[in-house]
């Protein structure tokens, strides 16, 4: 039968000899882009007038949002206001939903993500996603993490890559002796960290998290929130959360979404206000933001 191999992204000689900047602790920072001749831009995403329609019905409109590098950006708001829909725009996951149309411009490091030549598969290798309900593959822990590297063509040093991914996801100590056991035998919180490790193994630039803790108990939630804070050193993190307090705890920037009456009278998601987290929660400019964060409506 045919073995499906992915093409390696570049010749091996290019890889190890680039001048990857080291931070103070001597740890390699894994941030994109790798073109060092230009000063690295602050913005990872620059979204202008982003909107989404499902089968012609508008679900989200006019979102203008910028995501900064090495920070945690939280998207908060009541249910049904398009936060997850917007998140899926950032890594082209809306492509997988039949009838979904995205309009507006989403620049990722100054590249239009929805441009004519853009390969969505490559986009997702750089912008990873963790879902609300942990979804490990029905295989061993090892094979779960190894999936990404194998598919991307990083077959060498697989054991090392897996160890590193699990360390970064704060799961290594708990599973290092049972890598060959089934992933579904882990607890909910561990499975979610496994999914994070799985995403990290592909060496992304950005990690998107869609309500990653809503299916977990408080202790696992706390562990993952700590993880988010440590991940932002090396990655850019965008999370959607229902839990305002979570946003207050972990996010640097917070964006508040809500709903408006749309063009045809149907409810449609809009971005109300985006600012530094502290400002959103203490001195919001928009009265709807204030109503939400003070709990007057939810």
């Amino acid at each position: 039968m045919v073995e499906i191999e992915a093409q390696p992204d570049a010749a091996p000689t290019q890889m190890a000899t680039r001048g990857v900047p080291l931070n103070v602790a001597g740890v390699a920072t894994r941030t994109a882009p790798t073109d060092l001749s230009v000063e690295q831009p602050e913005l990872v995403f620059d979204c202008r007038e982003i909107g989404v329609r499902y089968n012609g019905v508008r679900a989200l409109r006019d979102v203008n949002l910028q995501i900064r590098r090495n920070a945690v950006t939280a998207l908060i708001g009541p249910s049904g206001c398009g936060k997850s829909t917007f998140l899926r725009c950032l890594n082209r996951m809306n492509d997988l939903i039949p009838g979904a149309e995205v309009d507006g411009v989403c620049l990722y490091h100054d590249e239009d993500l929805y441009g004519p030549n853009i390969d969505a598969i490559e986009v997702r290798k750089r912008i990873g996603m963790v879902f609300q309900k942990p979804n490990p593959f029905p295989k061993s822990i090892y094979d779960n993490i190894a999936f990404g590297p194998r598919v991307v063509g990083l077959k060498d040093h697989l054991d090392d890559r897996i160890e590193e991914a699990l360390r970064r996801a704060a799961l290594w100590d708990e599973v290092k002796d049972r890598l060959k056991e089934g992933a579904l035998s882990l607890s909910g919180g561990q499975q979610q960290r496994l999914c994070i490790a799985r995403a990290l193994a592909v060496e992304p630039d950005v990690i998107l998290m869609d309500e990653p803790c809503s299916a977990l108990d408080p202790i696992s939630t706390a562990a993952i929130e700590d993880l988010m804070t440590s991940l932002k050193t090396d990655y850019t993190v965008v999370i959607v959360t229902h839990n305002m307090q979570q946003a207050a705890r972990v996010a640097d920037t917070t964006a508040f979404f809500s709903t408006d009456q749309g063009e045809t009278g149907t409810r449609c998601g809009v971005l109300i206000e985006v600012a530094a987290t502290e400002k959103i929660f203490t001195k919001p400019e928009n009265e709807r933001t204030e109503a939400y964060v003070t709990g007057r409506f939810g």
Binding site: V2, I4, Q7, D9, A10, P12, Q14, M15, A16, R18, V20, L22, V27, A28, R30, A32, P33, T34, D35, Y108, H109, D110, E111, N117, I118, D119, I121, E122, V123, K125, R126, V152, L154, D156, H157, D160, R161, E163, E164, R167, R168, A170, V202, E203, D205, S230, D234
Partner: protein, 311 residues
């Protein structure tokens, strides 16, 4: 959480996000798609195979004569091409098959779905599946060598080949099909309906007959229509046990010839290609195909309606 700096990084410069041709993948998916085309080709082949000789046949024998004459004697002189005896033969065996498989299949399904404990169900279901998997030639043997002598020994002087024995055994063959499809339909009824009824004080008999079966009726009906279609299309059992005497009769004890038995007997016989007698195979085949096609479409529609309600 020390990072291992020795691992070669992926080259992630943004220039790479421009489109890559994945031709290997396209080839594989194209191959898979062509596999799907095969199924269309099969149907086209069947239709062509049936239509060609049938149209030639109906140029020589009028449709009226075909469907109204009550004698079927294509190899005699003078030949008679009335399909009515074959139709009554099929009707007779199918009728007795339905008498067995429809009520008893439904009864088994209700019992397994609503009454039986988990242990009983776990024990009985595999056994019924075994019954469904018995090759038809084995059932034909059973009809001829066990059932017919049995009937004769209790006083009913059936012919050695008769419609009743074949029909009953076809019913036995199809009982598991009706049972399992009906049971699926009943299992799909939400348990909240049952619980609500029990909560109102109904007993199991009332819940089964007044709540569950009516809720599952389109799935149950679909299973019955499918069973009828398969009874009509059954060949081996009738070939062995019903006979090859094409006579227009509905008496269960008489020997009959069904459409399927005629096709099988003539097709494996010595009739020469291109003669009218040869073309009768296709004409009768076309009739059979149209009847079962109509029933299948009805059944498929019913299944779709039942699925829509619950999915």
């Amino acid at each position: 959480m020390a990072a291992n700096t020795n691992l070669p990084l992926r080259d992630r410069s943004t220039a790479l996000i421009h489109g890559r041709k994945r031709t290997g993948e396209r080839v594989v998916i194209g191959t898979l798609a062509s596999a799907a085309i095969v199924s269309i080709l099969v149907t086209i082949g069947i239709v062509l195979a049936l239509l060609g000789p049938s149209l030639e046949f109906f140029r020589d024998v009028s449709l009226g004569e075909f469907f109204t004459t009550t004698t079927w004697a294509p190899l005699f002189t003078p030949p008679r091409y009335g399909v009515v005896p074959l139709l009554t033969g099929t009707l007779s065996t199918t009728f007795w098959a339905c008498v067995i498989c429809l009520p008893l299949g439904l009864g088994s399904a209700i019992y397994l779905s609503e009454y039986a404990s988990r242990r009983v169900r776990a024990a009985v279901k595999p056994v019924l599946e075994v019954l469904a998997g018995i090759p038809t030639v084995v059932l034909g043997y059973f009809a001829l060598t066990f059932l017919t002598p049995l009937l004769r020994s209790i006083g009913w002087q059936v012919d050695i080949f008769n419609a009743f024995s074949a029909g009953v055994i076809i019913g036995v063959l199809l009982l598991p099909t009706v049972a399992s499809l009906s049971e699926d339909a009943m299992k799909a009824v939400p348990s909240s309906l049952r619980e609500g009824s029990f909560g109102l004080g109904a007993n199991r008999f009332q819940v089964s007959t007044r709540v569950v079966v009516p809720a599952a009726v389109s799935g149950i009906a679909a299973s019955m229509v499918l069973a009828v279609s398969r009874a009509i299309g059954e060949t081996t059992i009738v070939l062995i046990a019903a006979g090859q005497l094409a006579q227009t009769t509905l008496m269960p004890g008489d020997a009959v010839e069904t459409m399927t038995a005629f096709i099988a007997a003539t097709g494996s016989g010595d009739v020469s290609v291109g003669t009218i007698a040869y073309k009768t195979i296709f004409a009768v085949g076309l009739t059979l195909f149209v009847i079962t096609l109509a029933l299948n479409i009805v059944a498929i529609r019913m299944v779709r309606r039942f699925r829509e309600v619950y999915e």
